[in-house]
């Protein structure tokens, strides 16, 4: 428990013994303060049954900051505390504080990422008088938080090839109620009487009893499946791709993916459509398509708790997609598996939009080897993107690169009506 006290005591006894044996007054006088110090240190060791109690609270400090406060009740006679503190998973820093100073430790952290994350971690080691280490490091005290992603307002919503149902907010090609004017048509059995257009009947009717009705298009809703590839979480700082330190990697691909997923889900649900969600790396995070505000809450929760799995996913079959659904595949496209899945869904007749969530790279601190490796990885990625495009998968880059159209304009382009020719989508 207190090795420094044991060592001091041993040396003090040894010095006293040497002094007595050799009759040396100076050695005896040298031993004297050690004996007194050890006696005080030993006498003031805290009782073994005294327990440390701690309470860590995290509160929203506004402006993307979170405030932490660790309140500690130390056992009696603790002289100092070694505090090991780590913020956002960064390298820990150690402080040696006097006992009363460690009673309340508070600070603020700027949140850098969305999703589940360890905001702060404390490890405490108690010291008694005479620098006696009286406790091993206590169990870590960890403050974790799930941070909701930012949301982008999506005004233009791409639609699937086929709309479904007889209600919704999108104009259908079928006859029905609620939509825009379609045509004037001779009355036929089954037409409702309130649809008779008397002006048109007066103008066009040749015989008595010849009636004309106004016909309208039906409304329909879209089914959208948002598929997130959460295998990797790479940041904009290329030099940090291998270390992946939360505090240094910058905006990460999963930050962008979470933001894109929650923005799209919110926009489609607001438009009355049905949205499903699937995380390719976790079967637990699969939500069947549905609509409504409560469903949006479920989607938002599933999206914000998405965390990198680090392991490649293996699917014998592509995840089942509702008939006629529009599939958004959110991926950094750094490996082949999402590409295979996208092509399988495309061959099943679905419209597939691959959302590229890789943030624009930054090369601060990146050495020559890292730059070359990045270039090679990007070349392989470009090949995958070319393959996707050549098969008819549409690509939407969420992060805005320099000189590129703004996101709203790119979404507007994707929202234009699509005409199918063979397996390829041709934009009018």
């Amino acid at each position: 428990m207190a090795p420094t006290l044991v060592a001091s005591a041993a040396i003090a006894v040894l010095l006293a013994a040497i002094a007595v044996i050799a009759g040396n007054l100076v050695i005896a006088l040298m031993a004297l303060p050690l004996i007194v110090a050890v006696s005080i240190g030993w006498d003031r060791l805290p009782a073994a049954d005294d327990q440390l109690s701690t309470r860590l609270t995290l509160t929203d400090a506004g402006g993307g900051h979170v405030a932490y406060r660790l309140e500690t009740t130390l056992p009696e006679r603790v002289a100092a505390v070694v505090v090991r503190q780590s913020l956002l998973g960064a390298e820990p820093r150690e402080l040696v504080l006097a006992g009363p100073q460690a009673g309340e430790l508070a600070g603020e952290v700027a949140l850098l990422h969305s999703g589940p994350q360890e905001v702060v971690r404390f490890e405490l080691r108690l010291l008694g008088d005479e620098q006696a280490a009286i406790s091993l490091p206590e169990d870590p005290i960890v403050g974790e938080l799930v941070v909701a992603p930012a949301s982008t307002r999506v005004r233009s919503l791409p639609l699937p090839v086929r709309l479904q149902g007889m209600t919704g907010t999108h104009e259908s090609a079928r006859l029905g109620d609620g939509g825009e004017f379609r045509d004037i048509h001779p009355f036929s059995p089954g037409d409702r009487l309130r649809r008779i257009d008397w002006r048109a009947t007066a103008r066009l009717g040749m015989n008595a009893g010849e009636l004309y009705v106004r016909r309208t298009n039906a409304l329909a809703d879209a089914t959208v499946l948002i598929v997130m590839d959460s295998r990797d979480d790479v940041g904009e700082e290329v030099a940090e791709w291998s270390r992946n330190a939360a505090g240094k990697k910058g905006l990460s691909s999963l930050d962008v993916a979470r933001e894109a997923a929650s923005s799209l889900a919110g926009a489609y649900i607001a438009a009355g459509d049905r949205v499903g969600f699937q995380d390719l790396s976790s079967r637990a995070r699969m939500i069947a398509h549905a609509g409504g505000t409560r469903h949006l809450w479920k989607l938002a929760r599933a999206i914000e708790v998405t965390a990198p799995s680090q392991v490649p996913f293996r699917h014998r079959r592509a995840p089942i997609v509702p008939p006629g659904a529009l599939v958004y595949l959110l991926s950094s496209l750094l490996d082949d598996q999402p590409v295979d899945l996208a092509l399988r869904w495309l061959s099943g007749g679905h419209r597939v939009i691959a959302v590229d969530v890789l943030p624009p790279p930054r090369f601060v601190r990146a050495d020559r080897r890292q730059r070359i490796a990045h270039r090679m990885i990007m070349m392989a990625r470009d090949d995958r993107i070319r393959t996707l495009r050549s098969h008819g998968v549409e690509l939407l880059r969420w992060a805005t690169d320099e000189g590129a159209l703004p996101l709203a304009a790119r979404l507007e382009l994707l929202s234009r009506p699509v005409r199918r020719r063979g397996s390829r989508a041709v934009r009018r």
């Binding site: 040396i11 010095l15 007595v20 100092a80 070694v82 600070g107 930012a150």
Partner: protein, 182 residues
């Protein structure tokens, strides 16, 4: 809780400041240990021979404090006094204070990680205790050296009796403390 302005690729901010004021680097304790140890080795052995062993022990005490070289150094310094005659002069008084300081610095080096930061308040308690222990010890040292130190002709009438009594008392005190069930 919302992360805020992610789409604009905001720059990273430096982590928040430390939760308490701790301006003294942990390495300073080890530097002080080396400085005190080298000074004491110079005082006891002079600038040659065994002095370099003292320097080596000081460096070991500072670089690997877990191996308790600091207290080995105290023993090494004490053994250096075997060849000296006890007389009342500043050298002995400095040595008594220095050995105590060495004990404190070795203890601090053991518990304070070298990359840590210390609060000055955390050093106040050891400093206060050092003064509280040293004041009577120095007075006792002056008195003892005045009364019990052998004369120039080597005659020491009270020394053996006093030593035996003091050593026995110290050992009894330590034994009582160590054997006391906690």
């Amino acid at each position: 809780m919302n992360v805020g302005e992610l789409p604009t690729l905001r720059r990273l901010r430096a982590p928040a400041d430390l939760p308490a004021r701790a301006p003294i680097p942990g390495a300073a304790v080890r530097l002080a240990l080396v400085a005190v140890a080298v000074a004491l080795a110079l005082l006891v052995y002079g600038p040659h021979g065994w002095f370099y062993v003292g320097v080596l022990l000081a460096l070991l005490a500072a670089s690997v404090p877990d191996y308790m070289f600091g207290w080995l150094l105290i023993l090494f310094l004490a053994l250096g006094e075997l060849g000296h005659r006890a007389v009342l002069d500043w050298r002995i008084l400095v040595l008594i204070a220095g050995v105590h300081l060495l004990h404190i610095l070795a203890g601090l080096s053991y518990v304070v990680p070298w990359r840590s930061w210390l609060s000055p308040v955390a050093l106040l308690a050891p400093l206060r205790r050092f003064v509280v222990i040293q004041v009577p010890c120095q007075l006792i040292a002056v008195g003892a050296l005045e009364l019990l130190a052998p004369a120039a002709n080597g005659h020491r009438p009270l020394t053996f009796a006093a030593f035996t009594l003091a050593g026995a008392a110290a050992l009894a005190l330590l034994a009582r403390l160590l054997l006391r069930g906690r």
